[in-house]
């Protein structure tokens, strides 16, 4: 275990106004633009959004793995109450893989083809705990057992190409969990897997999360995955959080028109759909050419002049849920009786 829980913080991770930009010759692309959210201790936060909404960049920013020409411009990333952006590179290396771990999207390419599975799990023991070869190997076998890989003594001497996708993702999880991290960042951990394996991997993550009492930041674009695993959900659109709620609220009463659109574009097996599946019209604006008002305005069926001209703030309601939409503010200049759910159904 890394350090006894420090009672002075409630959230394992607090992100405040994180800004990460990529710079081209004469252009600044704001991939993450003022993102804020919290992950309470031992909870799972899902980050949902379309491709290009800044989910992955947010997760890489947390580990400070943004590479040139990208740069974290501002904000705070408080991990256990300490700002990661103030840490030196050497301090960050001690945190990576030890206190914060990451699982990548592609189990096929995230393992080094020239090393055995055992050697790769051993790496984190050897980097962070300075264990010898034998000790590390013993612990690696335990890790493989933990993630439910049968006959780990044999698997440990195999190379990644000898394992199936699901097995490799289990190995990735074993590597990530080797040093008992307090926070696990999972960047679309199941996207590359087929559905039955997806369920297994999600169950495994959830089970281990409860066993080891760690926080998980789960990045996904699959609302089914969110429903199955998360406690809280942050919906991102164009580098900003547009809605932050607990899971139940998200599915029972989504507020932001974008969230509603996402929900409706998921096929429902218990409803007969006449005709086409609902879609969100239009496409994500280019990060280099953002609308000046609400970023969702060009695609929003309810957009008014206010939406098009002024960016709404992320407001917190009395239940602690956050929403970035003019409809729920006092300044709303459209139909006061607007019902996001009904109307968007009829328009689609």
């Amino acid at each position: 275990m890394t350090g006894a829980p420090n009672p002075s913080y409630d959230n394992i991770l607090e992100i405040k106004n994180l800004q990460t930009s990529f710079f081209t010759k004469d252009l600044e692309v704001k991939a993450v633009d003022g993102v804020s959210f919290n992950i309470p201790k031992g909870k799972v936060l899902g980050v949902v959004g379309e491709s290009g909404s800044g989910k992955s960049i947010t997760s890489l920013s947390i580990l400070r793995l943004i590479e040139e020409p990208g740069k974290i411009k501002g904000g705070e990333i408080l991990f256990k109450g300490e700002n990661l952006l103030d840490k030196s590179e050497a301090q960050m290396r001690k945190i990576r893989g030890n206190e914060i771990s990451m699982i990548f999207q592609e189990p096929m390419t995230s393992l080094n083809p020239t090393f055995t599975v055992g050697q790769q799990i051993s790496e984190s023991f050897r980097i962070h705990e300075g264990l010898g070869k034998k000790e590390a190997k013993k612990k690696s076998i335990e890790m493989l057992k933990l993630v439910g890989i049968p006959s780990p003594e044999k698997r440990i001497n195999q190379y990644p190409f000898e394992l199936s996708g699901g097995m490799r993702q289990r190995v990735m999880i074993a590597i990530a969990l080797a040093c008992n991290p307090d926070l696990l960042i999972a960047d679309e951990p199941t996207t590359a897997l087929d559905v039955t394996i997806q369920a297994q991997i999600l169950d495994l993550m959830k089970e281990l999360q409860e066993k080891l009492d760690m926080g998980i930041l789960l990045i996904t674009h699959d609302l089914g995955v969110v429903a199955e695993t998360c406690d809280y959900v942050a919906v991102m659109y164009c580098g900003k959080v547009v809605e932050f709620t607990d899971k139940k609220t998200l599915f029972t009463e989504p507020k932001h028109p974008y969230t509603v659109g996402l929900m409706q574009s998921v096929p429902q097996h218990d409803q007969d759909v006449d005709g086409d599946l609902a879609v969100i019209r239009g496409s994500v604006p280019s990060p280099a050419d953002m609308p000046q008002g609400c970023r969702f305005a060009p695609r929003c069926p309810f957009a008014t002049d206010l939406c098009r001209n002024k960016l709404p703030d992320l407001e917190t309601d009395e239940e602690g849920n956050q929403i970035r939409c003019w409809i729920y503010s006092d300044e709303w200049d459209g139909d006061p009786e607007v019902n996001v759910h009904e109307q968007s159904k009829s328009t689609s």
Binding site: R93, I95, S101, F104, T109, S124, G148
Partner: protein, 301 residues
């Protein structure tokens, strides 16, 4: 959470798994075996090494001091298989003695050059940006000179001796390695498992030497084999010009140079060391070409 304990993948029992690393080397070896010229090259190299190791103890004459002055420039006979040179020394014994010398120059100069080149290339490729520009532009400068000219210049500056020949040939082989390694590093460092290693908290040097280097060994091995051939040729060339091995050292290039003056009335003096050079260079080239094909994952079987 019972689902996670059911496994779609069944463990394959009873099949005894050979070490996969060994298996991959075996597959390279099998491909190599099918390539006739590579096999010939390999056998020749092994022969040359055996000759270099035990040959000097079996030579009929001392390569330096058995000077049969009455029998100068004798043509090949049963006494002197390759004839004698202008001092009456047995050319066969000298060629044998020179084998080890030649192989050693080739081997050590490439060992030196490849080490430096790999190091520079991997640093340039991994860190990129300004470091990359500085290192690679410097390599470009070295590449701009024909390698023999570069080696010639270095030996001229350092003075003619075997050690300096090794250094000169090593320096002239650095840029090729740096280029190859830089390219491979660029492609490997973009792969996700390198990101995964960084997310695991590995330091730069650990990533470079433990995770990138093993992934780019095959082009290095191929280039090293081919470069040994070039190195042998360059070294022989330098000795031929009188800048390398000094007489009476039985270096093939130097012997060739000695024979130059007797090309009309005693061509065998130059012929045999020349043939020896041809055989050695050809052997390394054939093996190198074979290795390149064998390491290429696109050629199956």
């Amino acid at each position: 959470m019972s689902r996670s304990n059911e496994h779609i993948e069944k463990p394959e029992i009873a099949v005894k798994q050979p070490n996969p690393r060994l298996k991959s080397w075996k597959s390279v070896f099998n491909k190599l075996k099918k390539n006739k010229s590579a096999v010939v090259g390999g056998i020749l190299i092994i022969l040359l090494i055996i000759i270099a190791l035990i040959g000097p103890y079996l030579t009929p004459y001392d390569p330096l001091y058995d000077q049969d002055v009455t029998n100068k420039l004798a043509t090949p006979s049963s006494d002197h298989w390759f004839g004698t040179d202008n001092f009456g020394r047995d050319i066969f014994s000298r060629v044998i003695q020179g084998t080890g010398l030649t192989l050693m120059i080739g081997f050590f100069s490439i060992l030196l050059g490849a080490t430096a080149g790999v190091f520079l290339g991997i640093i340039a490729g991994y860190y990129g940006k300004r470091i990359d520009s500085i290192i690679m532009r410097f390599m470009d400068i070295l590449l701009a000179f024909p390698s023999i000219l570069l080696a010639l210049t270095i030996v001229t500056v350092l003075g003619g001796s075997m050690v300096n020949v090794v250094i000169a040939v090593a320096v002239s082989s650095v840029p090729i390695f740096a280029r190859i390694v830089r390219g491979s590093t660029l492609s490997v460092k973009k792969l996700e498992y390198i990101d995964a290693m960084r997310a695991l908290g590995a330091s730069d040097s650990r990533i470079i030497f433990k995770h990138i280097l093993p992934n780019i060994t095959s082009p290095i091995i191929v280039q090293a084999t081919l470069s040994i051939a070039t190195a042998i040729l360059s070294a022989a060339g330098l000795s031929f010009l009188g800048l390398g091995a000094q007489p009476p050292t039985p270096e093939w290039g130097a012997m060739l140079s000695d024979g130059r003056n007797y090309l009309y009335n005693a061509p065998h003096v130059a012929l045999f060391p020349g043939l020896a050079i041809v055989v050695a260079v050809l052997a390394f080239n054939m093996l190198g070409d074979g290795l390149r094909d064998a390491f290429d994952p696109k050629t199956r079987e």
